[in-house]
Amino acid sequence: MSLISRFASLFRAHRLDQDLQEELRTHMEMRAEDNMAEGMSEEEARLDARRKLGNPAVLTENMREQDTLQWLETVWQDVRYGLRQMRKNPGFSVMAVLIVAIGVGAGTTLFSVTDTVLRKGNGAYPNSERFAVIWALFPRQNQRVYNFTIPEYQELRDQPQIFEKTGILVGFNGTLMVDHAPERTLCTRISVDVIPMTGVKPLLGRNFLPEEDRPGGPLVAILGYELWQRRFGGNPNVLNTSIRLDDENYQVVGIMPPLYHLWGGELWVPYQLDVANDDRANRRIRIAILLRRDLSEPQANARLQELATRWTNEHAGTNPEYEGMKLSFWNVHEWVVRGYKTSLMILLAAVGLLILISCANLGSLLLSKASTRRREMALRSALGARRGRIVRQLVVESLILSFLGGGLGVLLTIWGVPAAVSLVPELPNGPQATLTPLALLTAIAMTVLTGVLFGLAPAFYSAHTDLTTAFKEGSGQAGLSGSGHALRNVLVVAEIAVSLVILAAAVLTIRTFRQLSQLDLGFQPRNVLTMEVTLPESRYRQPSELVDFFHRLMPRLQALPGVQYAAVTTGHPMLDRSVDISFQDFELEEKQGQKDTPNANFRVVTPDYFRVAGTRLLGGRYFNDEDDADHPGVVVVNKTMAQLFWPNGNPLGKRLRLGSRTGEFIADPHAVQGSDASVDPWVTVVGVVDDAKQIDVIEVPVRQEMFLPLMQRGSRRDMTLLFRSELDPVTLTDAARHAIQSLDPELPVHEVFTLDQLVSDAFGPKRLTMMLLMFFGVTGVTLAVVGLYAVVALSVRQRTREIGVRMALGARRIDILKMMLKVGLRLGSLGILVGLSASFGATRVLRSLFVNIDPVDSGTLVAVCAGLGIVILFASYWPSLRATRVDPMAALRQE
């Protein structure tokens, strides 16, 4: 009976018992019948039958026990034997265990990280596949728009052929007051449909009601789970009480389940849209949609494009920016997971390859082991061991190795997951990443599979051993038969090829990454500290109070020891995405009266902003302290803006009128604007600065951008402070905090980062890919080289006699060296050839990950191959050298 069916019989014990009981009963009945035929009374007959057989229950029990014991006994025998084998070959065992540990450890680590990032929470809702936000492209303005006007929203809402539902999302920073402690909270205004659109129900309480989503409706709020835990101690009685947000009372009506980060916020309030507003110029709302279930992405885009064309036809007359417009959408979940998905998928592939390499290595190790154990196996089968028993023995041995390795691998994972996560500070959900149950399951499956597969291969190979040949091969160093050799060679070639692919990918990634990190950002991120302050409405009511605060603060910050320059700006560099979606309409003096409205991104800054950021001045001047409310309005524009609007002339001295259409900043409709209505809308270009990356270092192209002096335009409530220092900028944090709080002791300082850190976070996904690919590449090459070394070494050992004969016949050492080197180099170059062609495919995949990459970077590939070739040469050289030291006499006598 096979191992499996015997194992299964443990679980079938009950059924077995029933069979047996019935069989014993039949037996007793037959005996009793015969007894009666011989003249016994019925009772006597039965008693006799029972006496002869014994108690059926006890009998059954004994038999079951014997079964289990026997099975356990033989397995235990195999295990003990396996352990003894391992102790006899400590080098082999350690090697095998490490190989499996590396494979399982690396695989499980990455699997855990991927599992956490892509699956857990993270805005992954039941509907996240279809939950998206709409954006529009206005080519006339060189602008991508994520905000829409109310009439546009009304029309989008009326498109049942594309969307199942539509809703509004607008994020803002609110100040939440709990027990007199203010906290800046990421809040989102949403329409009543948005939470149902995600397919998630509140954990406690309810969603908003339609009547709460009308202008003038009651002020209600839904809390995120984490906020509820953090600020309200998870107290369910918070429900239906009032909380203080931005100096208004909101009634809490619901609490969302954990890890619900709709639009990155922790608190939601109804948008209360005024549907009567028909202003087609004031873009203020972001539109969330739930795609129809039956539409593919291209189909939905095609239908949206039909709509965009209709809008162009209907409105381009009054709103020229509609000319040639495009409408599309992006998936919110994918945005949250951002570039990580591709990176992680590529890494998963790399891990898969690494596991393949370690499997191949283990297989080839066990195979060579099997070859040296052929005599043992032949002896055992001569002594009558059945083939199944030998196979089982080998599989058990391989399973012991793989389980030790797998266990070690899982331990590595526990340490490896935090290590992997720490490489990428911005990884969504990173800190929550642990060994996930799914990953653990995969690890176990991987372990068992490795153990069984690579126990079976050599097992069947040994089991097929023909006794006579095995014995004839003599001496304990029996070699592999032809098929065994071929299998091992294939494994080694595959290992080299696969590790070449990983290595090529890694080197390519590094090269590209270096290119990217040397990319001209347009600013100098080194030694810059950034932090945010939010001036609460309760204490800073008037726009002039905001300006005044910074007017008084700046000299103090400037005077701090170690500070070279200090500045204030709207929009946290690299961090605040609103910079790219808040833009200012304007009119060029020379084109006044035209309907076409240009616009540009903008920042409101204090004079030293450019010096802190390290932005180059291309013409004119930076701002200075004279650019205040008493002097004429000025503006500094970036290179893109200068080229776009004054392609042939000098922009310096040109005038433009801000807010031509709406006459107001439309940066953030809910932030109080510091600009007085009396501020002169006319500004003169006084300087041109170099383009600077605005958000998301790599992918997003630079838009036209203008800079306005804070002392002329007023301040927002949320402002970012920037410091350039000669010292480690982090050391400034406390001094800056003190300076700020000497003006306003209750003002919290938050989002403290160095600019370096923010830039490097923007590289996060790429860096993760790079580091891990490199790690896998090096691991893969190490494993492959070990495999090659082992093959050559074994071949030397097997051919000792042949070498002895050759030497006795006059072969020189160099001939022997060449002969043995050829073994390794042939396999190595075959592996490189195969790997090379596979690498072409791999680099094509990598191109999807990085922009600006050579399609096939032949230089890189050549370098990688050369490097690998040298390593292969060394791996074949050492064992070959040993061949030249063979003493011909000793080799010939050895028999």
């Binding site: 009976m1 069979d19 037996h27 037959m30 002869k52 014994g54 038999m63």
Partner: protein
């Protein structure tokens, strides 16, 4: 196969031989057959018959199936497998050797 205690293996040998001779047969039938063929010299310990059958079945030398007996009773019928046939040949050989061995010892004793 490791050397075996041949005397305790005797029951196995008898069972295998019985099945070879008498074809598919149930447990009670084995008892009766051995008793009859040995002219009442050998009586199988019924309590050890079933553990032995079970062990031999586990070794893959015999198989069993439920059938209805002549007098309409459901019984478990045992049958030799090819592996069992080979095993029987082996055990018969080694039994012969044991008998020879024991006989020669007795002759010289």
């Amino acid at each position: 196969m490791a050397p075996k205690d041949h005397l305790s293996g005797t029951l196995d040998l008898l069972i295998l031989k019985t099945l070879a001779q008498a074809g598919p047969i149930h447990g009670y039938g084995i008892v009766l057959y051995i008793q009859r063929v040995s002219d009442d010299l050998l009586r199988v310990e019924e309590g050890s018959l079933y553990p032995a059958l079970h062990r031999i079945e586990q070794s893959g030398w015999i198989t069993a199936e439920w059938r209805t007996s002549k007098n309409n009773r459901r019984a478990r019928y045992y049958k030799l497998t090819p592996a069992g046939r080979r095993q029987l040949a082996k055990e018969e050989q080694s039994w012969d050797r044991v008998v020879q061995g024991v006989a020669s010892v007795l002759r010289f004793a």
